[in-house]
């Protein structure tokens, strides 16, 4: 990109020559970013947290390996190994850092080396730079922690300690920024709230513009998708501006690839659905009517997850015959749930509830006893919440109370369970006027909250597995295609070992066995599952891109690069990888579908991802018992989501395949393996 035969100016210089289109594009892009500034910041915070965790894990590795050696060969060897591994880690870190750092010593050093007339100047300069960086990091670490110089691992610890410090600094910085930009999110729940309560005159208070929660929610979700698609369009626009104004070549083969993809309707369909899925995952707090924090992680926290609903002071029950009928059927079930599962948690609430049958507290409404027994009634003040859409006629209300009651989501969830009898299906309000676009689950949670946050889980698993597995596969395919021989044979052996064990069995086995490992903590096992999938699937991907990479290795330009004395790694990166990356993408999108199905299947069976992290498969398992009742939606809706996303991923894979290489005969096998589970 930066240089070519015709025009050796850098992109920066080319933009400086003709700044207008780039400036226009950038200003709008900045505006778009500003619109969602708060959300972006919280996203960055999330990334920082993940980075801190990763560093923590990495820091444990040298000691762990060293410890293993120490237990076998004695402590001296152990220390030695620890130090060597630490040094290797630091060197790798320095290598990455030197690629990221804006200013490079190597660039300055190269002319110096050239001047002194040494050979392979650039390479030496680069390595020198990395070595210097390694030493610098190590020294900084040593100085910070002041450990005895004998153990280098202390240095790594120091680095790792200093990184969280950096992270914490960054955190405070971000919080400051967030303070400034807290209102800078057009899709925030604060700007368009959907948790409101009814007012006595039939309107709504606390929701966006006084609309009903359903509309407020719909507007917010529409806004999210509008914003996402505008951003996507703007990125596409930016690419076009680059192509028209700044790219040196008028045409590249990639233009044709993109054109083919745009004309591939099936592939485009897949792309759009996948994009919407990703948006749902990224904007999960905005898409879900109730956030996961309030609903799933701390439903009983009075500070964090309480909300207000309007309880009409009259007697709503007599008005709502329809509800009465439904609730009567469910009486027994609900009672058992109350007395059994939730006993410990609801405490006082539950006491009142079981007393409902005998009604010592609620005797003011004698004729309502059976209703309270059904578990719909809530003893808070002895009155029942307004149920569903059947709000009482406002004129009947002559009470002097406001009727506003504050309750936690946890309490409310008990009475909004969809268990066949009491059922809050798609597009309905629960008894507390909480809008449930896709109904509630059998534990009373909002379905869409689970789905939206579950898509996050799915995305984390899929991306971890595919990026890691794809990276391993790409690296190995380059190495084996370039060197062949022994490397190839060893890789074949390793991949055959993994492949010969059926994937699902192996994933199941590993996820059960590693269930107590510390890696299983983040996201209740989602990250671990991603790693396991990466381990199980790299041989498949490696196998499928082996053909193309062997072909590329035979090409004349690779030979030419070799004979020019280019370093093998550079040859692989510049002249081989771009051709293989496309094939990796095909298999990645096909395998991603399989991974989504498998991880859902695992959590359906109760392994893999444990509660409370929401997962699609567990929703299906939850709703299994209620599928032939009125609460059929609990299992059905997540299933439809899975089908849609997997289908879209398959379509996307087809599209990419046809775009990259219309003649290619790849993808069928992977598609077949994606379907299992």
């Amino acid at each position: 990109m930066s240089s070519s035969e015709y025009d050796t100016r850098l992109l920066r210089e080319r933009i400086a020559d003709n700044p207008r289109p780039a400036m226009l594009w950038a200003s709008v892009a900045v505006f778009l970013v500003m619109l969602e500034f708060a959300r972006l910041l919280s996203g960055i915070q999330g990334v920082v947290t993940i980075a801190q965790y990763l560093f923590g894990v990495t820091a444990m590795i040298p000691d762990w390996i060293g410890g293993n050696f120490a237990s076998v060969f004695g402590s001296f060897v152990g220390y030695l190994v620890t130090d060597v591994v630490t040094f290797a880690f630091l060197f790798g870190f320095a290598t990455i850092l030197s690629l990221v750092l804006p200013l490079s010593i190597a660039d300055r050093l190269t002319p110096v080396f050239e001047y002194t007339g040494q050979r392979e100047t650039r390479r030496r300069a680069v390595y020198l730079e990395r070595l210097l960086l390694t030493l610098a990091i190590g020294l900084v670490g040593l100085v910070v922690i002041l450990v005895p110089i004998g153990s280098l691992s202390g240095a790594l610890y120091a680095t790792v300690v200093s990184i969280p410090v950096l992270g914490a600094l960054l955190d405070t910085f971000l919080t400051q920024l967030q303070f400034v930009g807290s209102n800078l999110s057009i899709t925030s729940r604060e700007l368009i709230p959907n948790m409101g309560h009814r007012t006595p005159d039939g309107g709504w208070e606390g929701t966006f513009l006084g609309l009903s929660p359903a509309w407020a929610w719909a507007i917010r979700v529409t806004l999210v998708y509008l914003y996402a698609f505008i951003c996507l369009g703007w990125i596409w626009k930016g690419y076009n501006i680059y192509r028209d104004e700044y790219r040196v070549a008028d045409w590249t083969p990639r233009d044709d690839t993109i054109k083919r993809f745009l004309n591939h309707y099936w592939g485009m369909f897949g792309f759009i659905i996948v994009f919407m899925f990703v948006v749902m995952a990224l904007w999960a707090p905005a898409v879900s009517p109730v956030t996961a924090q309030e609903e799933i992680y701390s439903p009983w926290d009075e500070d964090e997850s309480s909300f207000t609903y309007y309880n009409p002071p009259g007697d709503p029950i007599n008005e709502s015959d329809a509800i009465e009928e439904v609730t009567e059927q469910a009486g027994e079930e609900n009672e058992t749930v109350l007395n059994g599962d939730e006993t410990g948690e609801i405490g006082e609430q539950e006491e009142n509830e079981t007393a409902g049958e005998d009604s010592p507290i609620l005797d003011e409404d004698e004729d309502d006893d059976d209703i309270f027994g059904d578990g719909i009634g809530i003893s808070n003040g002895g009155v029942d919440p307004g149920i569903g859409d059947d709000s009482p006629d406002p004129t009947d209300i002559a009470e002097e109370e406001t009727g506003l009651i504050t309750i936690t989501h946890g309490q409310a969830n008990i009475y909004s369970q969809s268990t066949g009898g009491p059922n809050f299906g798609p597009f309905s309000y629960d008894p507390y006027d909480r809008w449930a676009p896709l109904g509630t689950t059998s534990s009373g949670h909002d379905m869409l909250t689970h789905l939206a946050y579950g898509s996050r889980t799915t995305l984390v698993i899929g991306l971890t597995a595919i990026t890691l597995g794809g990276f391993i596969a790409l690296l190995l395919s380059l190495l084996t295609a370039y060197y062949k021989g022994l490397v190839d044979m060893l890789t074949v052996l390793a991949s055959d070992t993994v492949i010969s064990i059926p994937a699902l069995l192996m994933v199941m086995m590993l996820s059960i066995i590693l269930a107590d490992h510390s890696l299983a903590e983040p996201m209740d096992g989602a990250v671990l599952l991603g790693l396991i999938f990466a381990f199980a699937y790299w041989p498949v991907m490696w196998r499928s891109i082996r053909g193309p990479s062997l072909q590329v290795a035979e090409e004349e330009w690779v030979d030419a690069a070799k004979s020019y004395g280019q370093r093998p790694l550079a040859t692989m990166r510049k002249h081989m990888a771009p051709y293989i990356a496309g094939y990796i993408m095909i298999y990645a999108s096909l395998l991603l579908g399989g991974i989504i199905i498998f991880s859902a299947a695992l959590s359906f069976l109760g392994i893999g991802i444990s509660e409370p992290t929401p997962e699609w498969g567990r929703l299906i398992a939850d709703g299994r018992g209620h599928i032939s009742t009125a609460s059929w939606h609990i299992s059905t809706v997540p299933g439809i989501f899975i089908v849609l996303v997997v289908m879209a991923l398959n379509a996307l894979g087809d599209g990419i395949r046809d775009a990259i290489d219309p003649q290619a005969d790849v993808g069928e096998d992977a598609a077949a393996s994606a379907g299992g589970g």
């Binding site: 070992t497 010969s500 059926p502 086995m509 066995i513 299947a601 299992s635 398959n650 598609a671 379907g675």
Partner: protein, 333 residues
């Protein structure tokens, strides 16, 4: 196999805890049990023993089937899985390939679009979800569900469908095949029908993914061969369409299907765990699932090893099939 040992024995799953419960990890019973199972032996001895047991299927189920030998467990569960696998391979073959061939012979027609689209959707459906849906749907039919449509005031077309009484009457949607019909003395068609009916929904779902794959691939294969020169030549010679389809198109289209069909075994093995767990079929997959959860090391290892052997054998069988279908492929290059 070594991998299996490392994962199973050195992993954190404790068979004693699985058998006695977490609390009894240190009691006297637990110690005796440990001794009996050989968990106190040196690691290398355990390793050798494990390998030996694995290779010859001599192990003993520690927990799941308390004390039974692995062979007994296999004898108990393998027939169910085989029966399931048999139908799960057969059904897709006889549904997927004809549909794919039809779509390939009539490309870009409504029928083609319908077959292709339903194949793609079918492929994307998770098996476990299909199982749940199918069970719910079939259970709904108890007592009879009327399928059909009314033509107002004139007539109604349709029939009452009850899965329980459809064909041979069964008590439950799920269950294990009894294999009563296998006995030589009195071959009972009814028992056979019952067994088939019990396994049918599970097999159909288990084979769903491969069915869709077969549909897709047979469609492309037929499309490719039908546009090839030799088909054109045959047409020019005046060979009848039926002969062209069966002799020239079908046989050549089978070649790319062979790996798909053998790959099915792969899917079936993975899928059988889920399908058997949901349909309560007492097969190898379910045994594996329980053995895994309960830390039953030898059983789980043996099942995985058995599956691995099956997969390897199928790969060899696949190469063999190639030589039959495609004479150009020979043993000696």
């Amino acid at each position: 196999m070594t991998f299996l040992f490392i994962v199973l024995r050195l992993g954190p799953v404790d068979p004693i805890a699985a058998r006695f419960g977490d609390a009894a990890r240190a009691g006297g019973d637990a110690d005796r049990m440990r001794e009996q199972l050989g968990l106190n032996d040196p690691l290398w001895e355990q390793y050798l023993g494990f390998m030996y047991d694995l290779l010859f299927f001599r192990g003993e189920s520690w927990v799941t089937f308390g004390g039974q030998s692995v062979r007994e467990v296999f004898a108990l569960t393998a027939p169910n899985t085989l029966w399931l696998g048999f139908w799960a391979i057969l059904l897709p073959l006889f549904i997927g390939i004809p549909l794919g061939m039809y779509a390939g012979l009539n490309p870009n027609t409504k029928g083609d679009y319908f077959a292709s689209a339903s194949g793609i959707i079918w492929l994307s459906m998770p098996n476990f979800w299909l199982c749940v849906m199918a069970l719910a749907a079939l259970r709904q039919t108890r007592g009879g569900v009327w399928l059909g449509f009314d033509v107002p005031n004139i007539t109604s077309i349709g029939f009452t469908f009850d899965w329980y009484t459809f064909g041979p009457t069964t008590e439950s949607v799920i269950g294990n095949p009894g294999f009563d019909w296998l006995s030589v003395s009195d071959f009972s068609l009814h028992a056979l029908a019952v067994d088939i009916k019990l396994i049918l929904p599970a097999a159909l779902i288990l084979g769903s993914a491969s069915m869709a794959a077969e549909l897709r691939i047979s469609r492309t294969a037929v499309l490719e061969t039908i546009n090839s020169n030799y088909v054109e030549t045959a047409k020019a010679k005046g060979v009848r369409d039926r002969v062209i389809v069966w002799k020239h198109v079908f046989r050549n289209a089978l070649i790319p299907l062979v790996p798909v069909i053998t790959n099915e075994a792969f899917l079936l093995i993975g899928g059988s765990v889920i399908v058997e767990a949901i349909f309560n079929i007492n097969g190898l997959g379910r045994a594996f699932f329980q053995a895994m959860i309960e830390g039953d090391l030898p059983l789980a290892g043996s099942i995985v090893f058995l599956f691995t052997v099956i997969v390897l054998a199928l790969n060899i069988f696949q190469d063999f099939l190639y030589t039959i279908i495609d004479p150009r492929v020979g043993y000696d290059q």
